[in-house]
Symmetry: C2
């Protein structure tokens, strides 16, 4: 079980280690991207990421994200709007799912009880095997309307 990285320093060490495993360096740019994601505390778009660090070039941010994704440090989420969402991989945070507001597009992290996760995993393993798939992980999106968007 991968550590839920609690401290900033610990997280950066974990990121550096993972990059190194993939023969990648932990450059200032990549660290800036990771910092922005940590600060955000949830999925953010590229424009949002750039807004937190005006020195970052757009193309470099995309390139850093690509590297971080390949090394399993960042996860890219399905579009809710026109921009992709980026968040730290679960190895660095914890297993969670997403609550998505169908009106404003806000995405919030949620965790489910272990009991439910176990029930789901068992069921997913069963249906995946039945279809000849070797399952690796799952993602749950719960759609609805957030407080702010309810009339």
């Amino acid at each position: 079980m991968s550590a839920h990285t609690q401290h900033r320093g610990e997280l950066h060490r974990a990121v550096a280690a993972r990059l190194s495993e993939h023969d990648q360096q932990y450059t200032a740019n990549r660290r800036a991207v990771v910092d922005a994601l940590v600060a955000a505390g949830g999925p953010i778009t590229l424009p949002e990421l750039l807004a937190t660090d005006a020195t970052l070039a757009q193309s470099s941010a995309y390139r850093s994200l690509a590297t971080l994704i390949e090394s399993g440090i960042v996860r890219r989420l399905v579009h809710v709007g026109d921009h992709a969402l980026f968040e730290l991989d679960e190895h660095l945070t914890e297993h969670h799912h997403h609550l998505i507001c169908e009106t404003c597009g806000t995405v919030v992290d949620v965790t489910l009880p272990d009991r439910v996760e176990r029930t789901m995993d068992d069921a997913f393993d069963a249906v995946a095997s039945a279809a000849g798939f070797a399952p690796s992980h799952h993602a749950v999106d719960i759609y609805g309307t957030c407080t702010h968007c309810q009339t």
Copy 2:
């Protein structure tokens, strides 16, 4: 529980009714798009859709899909590759989830036991309410490797 539309004619009638509710007509183009989706039996990309009917113009297919999506007849799935995936809405088929091959991008429909769906719904309602969300529906993606892509 909305009817699982079994017969082609019944489905077309349901589509026509839904379009009509939204003050839209069931034109030849839109019917062609629906036919292609029915024939596919699962999520397909726009190029795949066009391949099944050479007379369909790309822009018209996109426009028909947009109309069908607005009327709740078609669902657009999150990108697995560069193309979006389109499938018939669950009102016209049945509640299901997706098995996604991380190697080749193939997407297969799967259904879960009612017991599991109930467990999930209860849990989702609970976490959504806790976050102030009014949940409407959910989507589960199970990632893994398909038979064909396993070494």
